[in-house]
């Protein structure tokens, strides 16, 4: 078909008044689901990293062992945040109301103290990700030390 004919057909189609079904509408919960999926993906990649380190018998080296621990702590962190986002964003059974710099209240469905307690713990997610980063740093430090030692011994 000649290009001129094609262009004419497109112009006719565009000029016709009709609904644009091709573009899907996105609801409000879509963002949190994508975020949760991102956490799951991040968690699975950390699981994969742990198994890969294990399968290659790298755990004999302290550096890789520490990196494996970092992956483990990131898995815990992901589980922590998945649960927290599930409770406050997805099913909205709990929320925090800040009263002042030192005071807040956790509003839970049916005033469940257990749910409030769990949520309070889940909000302290840095207890997982900060150690994970510490392990990552320590692991790299060990690998660097080993590498320097190897280079020195190779260099005589």
């Amino acid at each position: 078909m000649k290009p001129a004919v094609c262009l004419f057909c497109l112009a006719v189609i565009w000029s016709l008044p009709s609904p644009a079904f091709a573009i899907q509408l996105h609801m409000g919960n879509e963002g949190i689901i994508v975020h949760q999926l991102g956490h799951i993906f991040f968690m699975l990649s950390m699981v994969g990293l742990m198994f890969t380190i294990n399968s290659k018998k790298l755990t004999r080296q302290k550096g890789w062992r520490l990196i494996q621990y970092a992956a483990l702590f990131f898995i815990f962190w992901n589980l922590n945040t998945l649960a927290a986002h599930f409770l406050d964003n997805q099913i909205a059974v709990v929320r925090i109301k800040t009263l002042s710099l030192s005071q807040m209240t956790i509003v839970s469905q049916s005033d469940s103290q257990l749910l409030a307690g769990i949520y309070y713990f889940l909000k302290l997610d840095h207890i997982w990700c900060v150690p994970a980063m510490v392990f990552l740093f320590s692991g790299l430090n060990c690998l660097l030390r080993d590498q320097v030692r190897r280079s020195d011994s190779a260099g005589g």
């Binding site: 963002g31 994508v34 975020h35 991102g38 956490h39 993906f41 991040f42 699975l44 990649s45 950390m46 994969g48 990293l49 890969t52 290659k56 800040t98 009263l99 002042s100 710099l101 030192s102 005071q103 807040m104 209240t105 956790i106 409030a116 309070y120 909000k123 302290l124 997610d125 840095h126 207890i127 990700c129 900060v130 980063m133 510490v134 990552l136 740093f137 790299l140 430090n141 690998l143 660097l144 590498q147 320097v148 280079s151």
Partner: protein
């Protein structure tokens, strides 16, 4: 109501700690990579750290901002920008997750790099080792090569047989000292004039045979042929040779070993001649003995009849004359075959030669012949023998020489000694020389080249018999210039007298 401070502190401090740890991890990973820039796993770790740091910064920023806005009562603003920071957060940890998935690939790439590096190092080590030992190896090989070359050169130079190297056209490219001596040419002449093997092989049939064998079999083994020397004399040689296709870029060549067998051949001929003459001597002795008695009776009766001459006086005288001739022949035959009686004593060869020259100087046949000696005979050249017989031999040789120069020319008589102390008498003429085909027969009884009736053919054979009985030898050869030469060799008197077999009767 619940305490907000722990959550707030953990959130803010944790966020700051995450950022700090992320940045420190990047530095560590970078240092690690600097240690080994080719390591793909270290590059992977650098990417992971970068991902975690981006994630930490994004997350910490949003957390601190959130706390700040809520605490300052600006919750509405947070509600506005919260989704954006959340989205950036999501992207950042998905990025980390994605990078993490490439660990396996990074590991495999790194293993390949390490393997290639190892191979390169191994090759480098081998090259280094080779390089370090190369000089030593070169020295060792050079020594071996020099030693080998020296041995080969010594064999080539000091071989008593001729060694010749030729190009494919059989032009000589190398020849040893023995070869130079055999040919009689200067080595430079042989090489500069590009003389070929064909120049020395004069007998066409033998040359063709040798070349044909070389073409078909590429080698020859103990081929006997005549070898022409620079002085135009020929020697008998054995040639062995073969092709060499060369190495290290050298061209095809032929190598020959040429053995001079001339002396051996001559000796073989002389032995054969001696055997033949010995057999003839035995035969002649028997015949002469049987004929001698009847001849004596015929001569006796003839002389008795001549005491009363009658009408047959002339016939009787003819019979007497021819019977006497027969007696002389028989006497010569007996002398040749050693059947005659001789008296042996020390004699001076110089005196014998001088007497012969003096005697023959008065002979009419030697009127136009110049008989010379190189100088006064420096004696004493004493041999043990019979003076008359020796003089007879020399006279026979001189008469033969006189006939060879057709009674006009020059005869040279030399006396002296050789390296073994043998006394030599040589009679040389400038006549026509001896034909090649006659060499093997000249000492045979009754062999003569003179016209019928002019010679009995017993002179040389009788002379040969006399000299052999004296423990000596006669050798005939053609001179380089012109004519023939006969050399008598006799043992000195002391040596001859020590041997009791020498005194014959």
């Amino acid at each position: 109501m619940t305490a907000n401070l722990p959550i707030l502190l953990v959130d803010v401090l944790g966020s700051v700690a995450m950022v700090v740890l992320g940045i420190l991890s990047i530095f560590k990973a970078k240092s690690l990579r600097d240690q080994d820039p080719d390591n793909a796993v270290f590059l992977y770790l650098l990417w992971i750290c970068a991902g975690f740091t981006i994630f930490a910064i994004s997350r910490s920023f949003s957390h601190i901002l959130r706390q700040f806005l809520i605490l300052t009562g600006s919750g509405d603003i947070w509600h506005t920008i919260g989704p954006y920071t959340g989205a950036v957060n999501t992207i950042s940890f998905m990025l980390v997750g994605t990078v993490t998935l490439f660990f396996n690939q990074s590991w495999r790439i790194n293993e390949k790099i390490l393997s290639a590096k190892q191979k390169q190092e191994d090759t480098s080590d081998k090259l280094l080792e080779l390089n370090q030992t190369l000089e030593q190896k070169v020295v060792e090989r050079t020594e071996m090569l020099t030693s080998s070359e020296h041995k080969a050169r010594r064999i080539f130079e000091h071989s008593l047989d001729t060694i010749v190297v030729t190009d494919p056209q059989f032009n000589i490219v190398e020849i040893n000292k023995a070869g130079v001596a055999l040919t009689g040419f200067q080595k430079s002449d042989i090489l500069d004039k590009k003389m070929g093997l064909k120049d020395f092989l004069t007998v066409t049939s033998e040359q063709e045979k040798i070349l044909r064998l070389l073409e078909t079999h590429e080698y020859i083994l103990n081929e006997e042929t005549d070898f022409l020397r620079a002085d135009r004399s020929c020697v008998r040689v054995l040639i062995t040779g073969g092709v060499d296709y060369g190495a290290f870029g050298c061209g095809k060549t032929f190598h020959f070993i040429i053995k001079n067998i001339n002396d051996k051949k001559q000796m073989e001929q002389q032995i054969a001649q001696a055997d033949k003459l010995a057999a003839l001597g035995e035969l002649s002795a028997g015949v002469a003995h049987e004929i001698n008695n009847p001849l004596g009776i015929i001569l006796g009766y003839t002389q008795l009849m001549l005491k009363n001459p009658g009408e047959h006086e002339e016939d009787l005288k003819t019979i007497e004359k021819h019977v006497k001739n027969c007696k002389i022949v028989v006497s010569d035959l007996l002398t040749f075959s050693r059947k005659g009686s001789t008296k042996m004593q020390p004699i001076d060869v110089c005196k014998v030669v001088d007497d012969v020259i003096s005697f023959l100087g008065n002979h009419s046949d030697f009127k136009n012949v110049q008989m010379t000696t190189p100088g006064p005979c420096t004696g004493p050249l004493t041999v043990f023998g019979n003076e008359q017989e020796l003089a007879q031999v020399v006279i026979n040789l001189m008469i033969n020489a006189c006939h060879a120069i057709e009674k006009t020319g020059r005869i040279l008589v030399e006396t002296g000694t050789d390296d073994q102390g043998q006394v030599l008498i040589t009679v040389k003429d400038n006549g026509t020389g001896i034909r090649e085909k006659d060499f093997s027969r000249i000492f045979d009884p009754f062999f003569t080249t003179k016209p019928v009736g002019q010679g009995t053919g017993l002179g040389l054979s009788v002379g040969y018999g006399i000299i052999r009985r004296h423990g000596g030898d006669i050798i005939a050869r053609n001179r380089k210039e012109k004519g023939a030469a006969f050399t008598i060799s006799l043992p000195r008197a002391e040596a001859a007298h020590d041997n009791p077999d020498r005194e014959k009767t």
